[in-house]
Amino acid sequence: MASDNTVIGESILISGKLTGDEDLTVRGRVEGEVSLTKTLIVEASGVVRANVEVKNAIVSGVVVGNITATESVELTKDGRMVGDIRSPRVIIVDGASFRGRVDMGDLEPNRERSERPAARPLMRPTVRTSSAPPRPPVAAVAAKAPAAKPVPPPQPSRVESRVDARPPSPPKPAAAARPAPPPPPAPPAMAEAGKKKVLVKKKR
């Protein structure tokens, strides 16, 4: 494991350009530029002041700079970041602090439609447990939504606008942003769901 994995220890400072085709764990400091074809893990003691280009990034420490990820960026509860994120999947959990823009991309709608439904169910459980117990109905609608997908373009733009609204209080808006975007692809389903809910309330 250790022989196939790169670790930057706590007392190490690297300044310059770092490139590679393997996972990189940062416990110390890296300044400059980082580009990897695999995963960057910034541990709690790690500080990265760099523009980062990776496949996946998991931030538990501090990142100052922009992250471009081809797959996902995750800010864990101890993660702190200032900078912009560009990635098709962005996960910000309760406790993380973040200031900057998020761009989940609106290009290649075909690809996103196939990726996102697969990605969301993985994220939802953490969202539900952390902040929003009454969400399951919405989640159920969201799960059905991808099957319909008639109008994909609005989806990414809504994600962006909602995500941009996050910074003031990261945890709750983050929870709201994820289940919300799927509805647009399936307006009829939502409308029915809405009517049903209203009817139920009236009966009660």
Partner: protein, 107 residues
């Protein structure tokens, strides 16, 4: 075992400094300064000036080496550059081109 490892597919162009052991299996260009030991393994390629306490080289190093304690060139290593350290070991099979300075007074 050292806790900092630069893996074999990693390329660093810049400066590395720190207070702990460093193992290099990949490529580092620029400058390395440590207060502990540097290990350049078989697959490691270093094109940098090195300033550490100890250096053990089994890979390739191009650059000047300044060590406060010891420099060890192992079998199969290839080193080009000047070495300055109180203790310098060159094993049978090592290839080396450069000056050696074991003058202990200065350090």
């Amino acid at each position: 075992m050292a806790n900092t490892v630069i893996g074999s597919s990693i390329v660093i162009d810049g400066e590395i400094s720190g207070d702990e052991d460093l193992v290099i299996q990949g490529t580092v260009k620029g400058k390395i300064s440590l207060k502990e030991s540097l290990y350049v393994e078989n697959s490691g390629v270093v094109e940098a000036d090195i300033d550490t306490q100890n250096v053990e080289i089994a890979g390739r190093v191009t650059g000047n080496i300044l060590a406060s304690d010891k420099v060890e060139l192992k079998t199969d290593c290839r080193v080009v550059g000047d070495i300055k350290a109180p203790r310098i070991l060159i094993a049978d099979g090592a290839s080396f081109k450069g000056n050696v300075d074991m003058d202990t007074k200065e350090r």
